[in-house]
């Protein structure tokens, strides 16, 4: 159950066997079936979750009932509503399993205790947040200054295999902040650019 977590940890920090053993005790394993929720709007986000297996999405619902996906999390990634987790205020997000998932949950009190007893985790989470911040800033810049087509093209360039195969197109659209119709049209345009249309070539 902890294989992937420790693999990821070792990329950033070196833990002794002692520390590994101890750190396990702070996590609670949890399985989630497709369409089950890790967090629902209005609830306080009690855990940050490490994804050992599966795929989740985090989304909001606006006053018109439209879903807006703002994050996906695969194997090897963390997911939570950082704001609600930190402040204990009710969350505006829903976090839902899109596939059957195996998660490792870390509660606030466990996190505090873990950081206290194994200070190396301060560094690990700092680096994690740093990378997350860089990625989020990049998305923000591109959402403010690029067209929908540019954003889609970059997304499938950065993530050519995973995203299109495991995530339905209308959810990708939502993640990019556009409608499914627009994404469909963008894809058609891109395809016709790559393989230019051969004009009717009627003989005679």
């Amino acid at each position: 159950m902890f294989e992937l977590l420790f693999q990821k940890l070792e990329e950033k920090i070196k833990l002794t066997e002692e520390e590994k053993k101890l750190s396990r005790s702070f996590f609670v394993p949890k399985k989630l079936r497709k369409k089950q929720y890790l967090l629902q709007e209005g609830d306080v986000c009690k855990y940050v979750a490490f994804v050992e297996k599966g795929l989740l999405r985090s989304y909001t619902i606006n006053d018109k009932g439209q879903e807006h996906i703002n994050q996906f999390a695969f194997e090897g990634w963390w997911i939570a509503d950082q704001f609600s987790f930190l402040t204990r205020e009710p969350s505006k997000y829903n976090i839902e399993a899109m596939e059957d998932c195996e998660l490792l949950l870390l509660s606030k009190s466990s996190e505090d205790e873990m950081l206290d007893k194994i200070p190396k985790f301060e560094r690990y989470f700092r680096i994690l947040l740093q990378n997350n911040l860089i990625a989020t800033q990049k998305r923000l810049v591109s959402s403010l200054s690029q067209t929908a087509e540019e954003r889609y093209s970059e997304l499938i360039q950065d993530c050519p295999t995973t995203l299109p195969h495991r995530i339905p197109q209308h959810m990708l659209a939502s993640f990019l902040g556009i409608t499914p119709e627009t994404l469909s049209r963008i894809r058609r345009q891109i395809i016709s650019k790559k393989a230019p249309h051969i004009e009717d070539n009627v003989q005679g």
Copy 2:
């Protein structure tokens, strides 16, 4: 010169007098006059800067020559291109003083040494990044799912005093990802909502 920095540090971590004294040695004070640059596109971001005094902006220039502001930093805030600082790749950002500034610069090697000698700073920077991430995520969500008017209204609600007084309107527009013309029109609309137009009331 270090008053504000230590005030801010104390909000997150407790330092001994010894540690305070030591930590000073890692920073390089730097004054910047209005319109001078802390970082220019193409250069590697060598420092994260704490702003003791003044105001800076971070922006990109796209292929059409348009500026896109993505961050402001006032007294008490940090500013840098995290990505370039981390990877040592050339930056895509320009960081420019909008007012005369007093900064405290921290180089990568100083940061590493400081984190090594005063591990409490791991926690400090982790918390800093966490808050920054939460704020950036909020901006991302709003840029993807709200109208320009909603974004502007929220901005002046969150920051009613500082922003409009120290930052010219066309830079606020750029920060919001809209044109100066659009922001001007939005402001007119908001004003006419607050103080509804009195219809011509010609007697007779």
